[in-house]
């Protein structure tokens, strides 16, 4: 059976094509201002990669905050929480807690051994627990987003960050710069702060091993280190953490 999962996130659209449980095509496109166009583009690239045409796909399931924009392709949809859970258990059968940190949303999901959702907590009202926080801080610190995480590796000292709100944290970063705090220490403070927010969500649902970290922010080494320190364990990270939601949707489509 050939199925596709489409994950329309706040920043990017991910498409993944699955044939009998094997990934045969995938693509990621920036959502930009037109999620629908990005979905179409991403879908076509994934199809080409798999050497298929649209008619070969038997079922398509969409997920993500912008999933309604994919309605022209996907007749069915599922929540991000369900998709994340299914994707994570497929990659790590030992996963019991899934942490997904995307561009505008962070969530912690507790799952059973079948990948069924037991409980979850979402941070959707505030940018402080999501990638948007990092983006704003990279601007304030004038360090490219890709380099922000790496920078923490040079940090010698943990500096506390008081602000929770992204807007206030921007001012705080400016104050720290004025106080001549080294950029690497500020960067560590930024990652510790977002980790704090995520950990409080995880504690709400109860921490259970193994913990899998997915979503685009999982590629940020600074955040991963902060999270590992705070949780006192090592989170498992798939090779392509941003595709796990799309994978889960494709798996659900095959059922």
């Amino acid at each position: 059976m050939i199925t596709a999962g489409i994950d329309c996130g706040a920043k990017t659209v991910k498409v993944l094509i699955l044939k009998d449980g094997r990934v045969i095509g995938k693509s990621l496109a920036l959502a930009g201002f037109d999620t629908k166009a990005a979905t179409e583009q991403s879908f076509n690239i994934a199809l080409r990669g798999a050497g298929l045409s649209k008619n070969d796909i038997q079922r398509i399931v969409a997920t993500g905050a912008g999933r309604l924009e994919a309605a022209f392709l996907a007749k069915e949809e599922t929540t991000e929480v369900a998709a994340d859970a299914r994707g994570a258990i497929k990659l790590f059968p030992s996963a019991r807690t899934v942490i997904d940190v995307g561009a505008e949303e962070g969530r912690a999901i507790k799952i059973d051994r079948n990948g069924k959702v037991v409980d979850f907590a979402v941070n959707e009202k505030c940018a402080a627990g999501a990638g948007a926080f990092m983006e704003a801080m990279s601007r304030a610190l004038e360090v490219p987003l890709e380099e922000l995480g790496e920078l923490t590796l040079k940090s010698q000292r943990a500096v506390p960050m008081n602000a929770q709100c992204v807007v206030f944290a921007e001012s705080e970063v400016v104050t720290l710069i004025h106080a001549k705090t080294p950029k690497e220490d500020i960067s560590r403070a930024i990652h510790d702060a977002i980790s704090d927010r995520i950990v409080s969500m995880v504690r709400r649902i109860g921490l259970e091993r193994d913990v899998v970290l997915i979503g685009g922010v999982a590629k940020n080494i600074g955040f991963v280190n902060s999270l590992n320190r705070d949780l006192e364990l090592e989170v498992k990270i798939p090779e392509e953490p941003e595709f796990v939601g799309a994978l889960g949707a494709a798996i659900l489509a095959a059922e």
Partner: protein, 296 residues
């Protein structure tokens, strides 16, 4: 009266201002007290001579609290011949209250705003909303301006002056014009959905792209902010008379929508209510000076 106003080309910048009363001869004064309110975004100084306001200053807070306190007080006193050393007693308040180098005492901004509002609006004030740069407080007080209880939002920029500054910048509308512009619409739009300023910004960008004029986007944001602070007020309960102090009280786009949502009118004044905290501090300074002198 001499008034001086400073402006710059940046949209988020509100007008810095100072004022003094040249008719008061401070050299003959028995009491000279000052209240200095060092907030997260703005700093104010109020100098009182024998219980009357002699000079005021209102400036943006810089990166150092002690410098901001000195700068705003010196600016308020500029040209009056009075120096900081001539002040008998100073009370510091606001976020940076412990960093006012020439203050004898620090008092919380909650107490000072209640005291200041009582002086500015009179003893009928029972509920006070202080909308500052980085926080928002709903305060209940008695007829003497004494605080009975309060609720505070200091974790989130939604409902604060800083949030409004971010919007002024995004839409390229000077912050002092936001309120006025928000009523240049045919029909009141629904409020933006996002509470978070960061998400509201994204939402606003989307609305502009969808063809909304910026006046309408501003109206939608003012509504959202009004709704946000209404929630805070409803948790504590609004008792008449109701007043708003702090920078956002100057934004009619938020104030009128809040009055509508609550079904209560605020008391109005010509006095610059951004100074309320510093006025309260100067009044506390007066009382403390009196106590101090009678003890000595």
């Amino acid at each position: 009266m001499a008034q001086e106003v400073r402006t710059t080309g940046e949209y988020w910048r509100w007008t810095e201002s100072r004022w003094n009363d040249p008719d008061i001869d401070w050299r003959k004064a028995k009491t000279i007290t000052a209240g200095v309110d060092v907030g997260s975004v703005s700093s104010q100084a109020v100098i009182m001579v024998d219980g009357k306001i002699f000079a005021t200053g209102n400036m943006r807070t810089g990166s150092s609290s002690p410098d901001s306190a000195l700068n705003v007080t010196n600016w308020a006193l500029e040209g009056t011949g009075m120096k900081i050393e001539d002040i008998h007693y100073t009370v510091g308040t606001g976020y940076g209250r412990v960093n006012v180098p020439f203050a004898q005492k620090a008092i919380t901004e909650i107490a000072c705003h209640a005291r200041g509002a009582n002086w500015i609006y009179g003893p009928t004030v029972r509920t006070l909303l202080d909308m500052g740069g980085q926080d928002c407080k709903a305060i209940h007080c008695d007829e003497k301006g004494k605080v009975i209880n309060f609720l505070m939002n200091d974790k989130c920029a939604a409902g604060t002056g800083r949030g409004m500054e971010v919007f002024a910048d995004l839409l390229a509308v000077p912050i002092t014009k936001i309120g006025e512009v928000s009523f240049q619409i045919d029909e009141e739009p629904p409020a933006v959905n996002s509470t978070c300023v960061v998400f509201a910004k994204t939402e606003a960008t989307g609305l502009l792209r969808a063809g909304w004029p910026k006046e309408k986007v501003i109206a939608a944001y003012c509504s959202a902010m009004a709704h946000r602070v209404a929630e805070l007020l409803e948790r504590i309960g609004v008792e008449k008379d109701f007043v708003i102090t702090g920078g956002i009280s100057k934004n009619i786009g938020v104030v009128k929508r809040l009055e509508k949502e609550l079904g209560i009118e605020t008391l109005k004044t010509d006095f610059d209510v951004q100074l309320a905290g510093a006025v309260g501090a100067a009044l506390f300074a007066q009382a403390l000076l009196k106590k101090h002198r009678s003890a000595a």
